[in-house]
């Protein structure tokens, strides 16, 4: 199947303006601005079944339709903060096929009546940000961005904004706070960004990969997109595969592809031909899935992965083999969340801190009762944190202890 998102793998130099334009580039945007009404664009995206690709999987067209049309101006923000461990798909999109991403962002802006859009990039994507600035300038020079586009009344400018190293800024309201020049700490929700977003105005925020689907959906139609993937999850997903596989990397595949195909057919199987012990499908925020044939043969889409007691999330598939002790693994994930906790809400700020003491202790024997205490602390955090960071910081801990209890009973002194 031809690439829909990572089209630079089919078409060399697609990151160059002329090549992108020659390969159908910007036609969907020009066509929509000159011939469609904004809500017609939203309807196409709604009917396509496209769901957010940042991790939550919220129906994209539906999100766009929630924008408050009684409050102006509107903004669109692209979440390019890609910081979930095991995720590196947005980076490849922006490096290899930047104009398709920008065109998708432009289409979304037109659909919701925004004249200004921001790309919030994690600070470490420094050079990528500079490259995007050059691409935006090229689009302006060619009349695809700026004032009164294609002779219509519609104007659009896109700006990049760099973060400065904070995973929490991938959470949409923390991103908005950071973009507004404050510490990146989540807001109380409701209200949600489509009613109260950037500078208090109605804002649509979507992930880079989500936007990158949009020009192809407009060009080929909603039915075309829906015909790919599964009934629960339409279209293709870029799976970032990492961990103990022979060929880590990004793999763009239709939803419904099995874990087995991803890991063995595409990923070259496990290093040293070892067995898969566990799969973390959503990066560090994952529940740990103990691997067996049934799991490996499970088709990957949002609904089906849930039946395995986990969430597909951003589809950042980390493969764990049988040489990895779960005590070591959860110590890693907990330290990540402790470092990245924004500090605003007590259960996460205190909980990640105390969990990290316990997971560190469990690395070196631990005290009697540590495992049960750790489980206790994690469970007390669940359902109480201001945002998903705190919630997800407990997933590997709880599922690690509950599903791999053997790993935890061994190191503790009796």
């Amino acid at each position: 199947m031809a690439y829909i998102l990572l089209r630079h793998r089919d078409i060399p130099d697609l990151d160059k303006f002329d090549v992108y334009q020659k390969n159908g580039g910007f036609a969907a945007f020009k066509d929509s601005v000159t011939k469609k009404k904004p809500n017609e664009v939203t309807d196409v995206v709604k009917n396509s079944g496209l769901r957010g690709r940042g991790g939550a999987g919220f129906p994209t067209g539906m999100k766009w339709s929630f924008i408050d049309n009684k409050n102006w101006p509107h903004y669109v923000v692209a979440n390019a903060d890609e910081s979930e461990p095991g995720t590196f798909k947005d980076r490849e999109i922006m490096e290899g096929n930047p104009f398709q991403f920008l065109e998708g962002l432009a289409l979304a802006s037109y659909a919701v009546g925004a004249n200004v859009a921001y790309v919030y990039l994690r600070g470490e994507f420094w050079e990528l940000g500079a490259a995007l600035d050059r691409k935006i300038a090229e689009m302006e020079e060619a009349g695809y961005l700026g004032e009164k586009l294609f002779g219509t009344d519609y104007s659009l400018r896109i700006y990049t904004h760099l973060g400065a190293g904070a995973y929490i800024c991938g959470e949409e309201t923390a991103l908005l706070e950071s973009l507004e020049g404050k510490r990146g700490q989540p807001r109380v929700r409701p209200p949600f960004p489509p009613s109260f977003g950037l500078y208090g105005k109605p804002t649509i925020i979507n992930n880079v990969e989500t936007f990158t689907n949009v020009p192809m959906i407009l060009a080929n139609g909603a039915e075309w997109y829906k015909s790919i993937g599964t009934s629960d999850s339409a279209g293709v997903k870029i799976f970032s595969l990492s961990g103990r596989v022979r060929k880590p990397g990004n793999y763009e595949l239709p939803f419904g592809t099995t874990f087995r195909d991803l890991i063995y057919k595409h990923g070259g199987g496990v290093q040293d031909s070892r067995a898969v012990k566990a799969i973390m499908p959503a990066g560090a925020s994952s529940s740990l899935i103990p691997a067996d044939d049934k799991v490996l043969d499970t088709p990957m889409d949002y609904a089906t992965v849930r039946t395995l007691g986990a969430d597909l999330g951003s589809a950042s598939i980390i493969v764990i083999d049988d040489t990895v002790p779960m005590t070591w693994l959860i110590n890693k994930t907990v330290h990540f969340f402790k470092h990245e906790s924004c500090g605003k809400c007590t259960p996460c700020r205190e909980g990640t801190y105390w969990m990290s003491h316990l997971t560190e202790r469990l690395q070196h024997d631990g005290a009697r009762g540590d495992v049960d205490l750790l489980l206790n602390v994690a469970k007390q955090m669940q359902g109480k944190c201001l945002c998903a960071l705190g919630e997800f910081s407990t997933m590997a801990v709880v599922t690690g202890i509950e599903r791999f209890r053997n790993d935890f009973d061994k190191p503790v002194n009796a």
Binding site: D90, E124, E180, G184, A284
Partner: protein, 164 residues
């Protein structure tokens, strides 16, 4: 010297990206600008930025301390930030870090005697398929170095020294 005097064009360009009611948004790019010379943001720079944006110095300081890429004390001219997070660690990042510490004669968090390089451990840099890897943060930007080993690392550092 204030940022607006030293880099007038850049300050103006930064401020123009945000609407008047969103002027405060400029704090992040202005902090990167202030960090350009010395690799850290001193008190005078924080006061300067606070004045440009009409916010308090405490506001600015709280932003500096919140984010990993802003620094408020002078350390090495360059920071070598090695990812030792879970996916990289599954592909040898911890062993790589130990070997680097050995070769450079540094512990994590320390700076070389000549003040050139500070060695740090950081969380995921979105390069999990190219481990072991690190980024070098210098006064004027950030660069990735992927699929690394200790010898290649030493080459990177020597090249950086020659260019400085």
């Amino acid at each position: 010297m204030s940022l607006a005097a030293k880099y007038p064009n850049e300050v103006e360009q930064i401020l123009s990206k945000y609407p008047p009611e969103g002027r405060r948004s400029a704090v992040m790019p202005l902090l990167f600008l202030a960090q350009r010379e010395e690799g850290y943001i001193n008190k005078a720079a924080m006061q300067d930025i606070a004045k440009i944006l009409e916010i308090t110095e405490t506001d600015v300081a709280s932003i500096v301390r919140f984010y990993t890429l802003y620094h408020d004390k002078k350390e090495g001219r360059y920071r070598m930030q090695v990812c030792t997070d879970l996916p990289c660690a599954l592909r040898g990042a911890e062993e790589f870090m130990e070997a680097v510490c050995d070769r450079l004669g540094l512990n994590v968090g320390e700076t070389t005697a000549d003040g050139f390089l500070t060695l740090e451990a950081v969380t995921c840099l979105a390069a999990c398929d190219k481990a072991p890897m690190f980024q070098i943060q210098g006064p004027d930007g950030l660069k990735y170095h992927e699929n690394m080993n200790v010898d290649k690392t030493v080459d990177v550092i020597s090249t950086l020294k020659r260019k400085s």
